[in-house]
């Protein structure tokens, strides 16, 4: 530690004003604050003082993602070996999963952070930590067998077009991780849809039929009995991190207790999906209508989206009442897209993106309503 500090102190003058490496100062700042708590203090004026900063916020989210990540790695291995009728232990599964997942994470971080640093360098901004979470989310919402160059292309698209052109972290209108995923989904549908969810299918090691998901079957009108326990625990094919509702709940608990994720949005999303599911149950008629409402919550990526994607503080609604509206509509839309749109078996991704687009409008009207209410109070 001391050695690091000394080295940093020694090279620091080079990056300060008039130093010969001044043009790289934002990169240096990023590294320094990454390794040590910054010693800047607030100057002038009254400010709210709190230990939490962007870096700590982002890291809390990453910690909340770890259960889903570890389970995802295990599940990739488990599905792969089970499909081939090979007995495997936890360690085998984890090792196989890690071999698939870690490269994706590395690529996503390298590309994303590289672009982010480059932009900050050119603009002379301090580098901030906005990409840390997106870089972890992207690997968790793609299938395990995705080619790495696709991850790179999608990440680059999400960071440049989805975020940096709007002015960087905190300014994007769409969730960057979802932008990356929808980009992949539209640009490379073969790699992102169909029965591709068990690792090894592409190499012919595993029979394709083992990769069918509940949503995929329901989408083509098959009657499906969802095994509630397995679906809740996550023992089913899917994107790397999305399968386990239990792990998402653990993540949700961490986010809610630390006050970082909005419980309003999570709860509202669940209410919206349950409500819409119940309405469809009441209408009844085909297998998808009759799917018990609560099972919408545990199949596919619903839990993952509701906990980690919908609550993105930048692209979600900002007002309290806006959050309820935003969340409920996400839930309703998710079920609607799942049931009524055979083109897309999964709805949560598009539902969140759609509400990301509508969130500023929702906020605007909530604020206006508040102003009106208070004006009336003043007048009365």
């Amino acid at each position: 530690m001391k050695f690091l500090r000394n080295t940093l102190d020694k090279i620091k003058p080079n990056f300060e004003k008039d130093g010969k490496l001044h043009f790289l100062h934002s990169t240096f700042d990023a590294l320094e604050t990454f390794m040590f708590v910054p010693n800047h203090t607030t100057k002038g004026g009254a400010h709210i003082r709190d230990g939490i900063d962007l870096k700590r916020t982002m890291f809390t989210v990453i910690i909340a993602l770890v259960p889903a990540l570890l389970f995802g790695m295990w599940n990739v291995g488990e599905l792969h070996f089970t499909a081939q009728n090979i007995d495997s232990f936890i360690i085998d599964n984890l090792i196989y999963g890690a071999m698939k997942v870690v490269p994706i994470i590395v690529v996503s971080y390298l590309v994303g952070l590289g672009i982010e640093f480059a932009f900050c360098q050119v603009n002379g901004h301090p580098v901030n930590e906005g990409f840390l979470v997106s870089g972890m989310l992207i690997p968790l919402i793609v299938p395990a067998d995705i080619p790495l160059w696709m991850v790179a292309v999608a990440t680059a698209f999400a960071v440049i077009i989805g975020k940096e052109v709007f002015g960087g972290t905190g300014m994007n209108i769409l969730n960057p991780a979802l932008t990356a995923r929808v980009f992949l989904y539209i640009a490379y549908p073969v790699e992102m849809a169909g029965d591709i969810w068990v690792s090894g299918i592409k190499d012919g090691l595993v029979d394709a039929s083992s990769g069918a998901t509940y949503l995929g079957d329901l989408g083509v009108g098959k009657a499906v009995t969802v095994d509630t326990y397995n679906a809740f625990m996550g023992f089913m094919p899917g994107s790397i991190g999305e399968t386990s509702t239990l792990m998402c709940l653990i993540g949700a608990a961490i986010l809610i207790v630390s006050g970082i994720g909005s419980w309003r949005i999570m709860l509202a999303t669940v209410i919206g999906a349950l409500g819409m599911g119940l309405i469809l149950n009441a209408i009844g008629g085909n297998p998808y209508y009759d799917l018990p409402a609560y099972q919408h919550l545990i199949i596919g990526g619903f839990a993952f989206g509701a906990v980690f994607m919908a609550t993105d503080p930048v692209s979600a609604a900002h007002t309290q009442r806006g959050k309820w509206i935003y969340g409920i509509l996400i839930g309703v839309l998710t079920v609607l897209i799942r049931v009524f749109n055979p083109a897309y078996p999964e709805g949560i991704m598009f539902a969140i993106l759609f509400m990301n687009v509508m969130a500023p409008l929702v906020d605007n009207y909530v604020v206006k309503a508040n102003i009106k209410r208070r004006l009336n109070r003043v007048k009365a």
């Binding site: 077009i161 932008t179 539209i186």
Partner: protein
């Protein structure tokens, strides 16, 4: 399929799936120009919705009773002798554009006068764009889609209303985003229209969710 389901299907399709902005890129000029403030965007959105709601059925009438091949044969049934003129063979498709534009322009002129009288504030806010609705591509576009869609009259009303609501939603959502964007530090070269185009592209992603939407009620 019942009549309500049919109308609902056409309505949802025209609002979300065949959205004038995100699926056809029609009416972009006023869409980009009048989406800086939510207030004016709402005004223009309502004007477009209103004009679409009226002109699409009007154009439907014009198409089915004047333009289409044999559409004029009602003149014969009214008493014009077929020896004098056989209208069942008349095909005025070549005049489609002119007639549609004439209908739209006349109606917009009327709307303009009404708005000026009833809401001078809105009239001033909309400025040049109210007369420009006459040449708003989405309105002529909706009329030109009619022949291909073979709607009944009622369906064309729903279609016009739906297309208008879709345009309204798009313009208001964009205005809200642009009001928010005015606080962002957008790279210099992209400020203004550049970033707006990118925003619209990203919004189109979100609207993709409805492509392929089907409403098989009570199947």
């Amino acid at each position: 399929m019942g009549i309500v389901e049919n109308y609902l299907n056409i309505g949802i399709k025209s609002i979300f799936v065949d959205n004038m902005i995100f699926a056809y890129f029609l009416g972009m000029c006023s869409y980009l120009a009048v989406s800086k403030k939510i207030g004016t965007a709402v005004g223009l959105g309502m004007a477009v919705t209103f004009v679409l709601l009226i002109t699409v059925p009007l154009n439907w009438l014009a198409y089915n009773f004047i333009i289409k091949e044999g559409a004029l044969s009602w003149l014969n049934t009214l008493g014009v002798s077929t020896n004098f003129a056989d209208f069942s063979g008349v095909n005025l498709e070549v005049l489609k554009f002119i007639i549609f534009i004439a209908v739209v322009a006349a109606f917009v002129q009327l709307t303009e006068m009404v708005v000026e009288k009833l809401s001078p504030a809105l009239y001033n806010a909309l400025g040049i764009f109210l007369p420009l609705i006459a040449v708003n591509c989405s309105i002529l576009g909706a009329a030109l889609f009619l022949p291909g869609k073979e709607f009944a009259f009622g369906e064309s009303v729903v279609y016009g209303l739906g297309s208008g609501i879709g345009w309204f939603l798009a313009v208001v959502a964009l205005a809200a985003i642009r009001e928010k964007l005015s606080y962002s530090n957008v790279p210099k070269g992209l400020r203004g229209l550049g970033i707006t185009f990118i925003t619209v592209g990203l919004m189109a992603f979100a609207f993709l969710s409805f492509i392929g939407f089907k409403l098989p009620f009570g199947e």
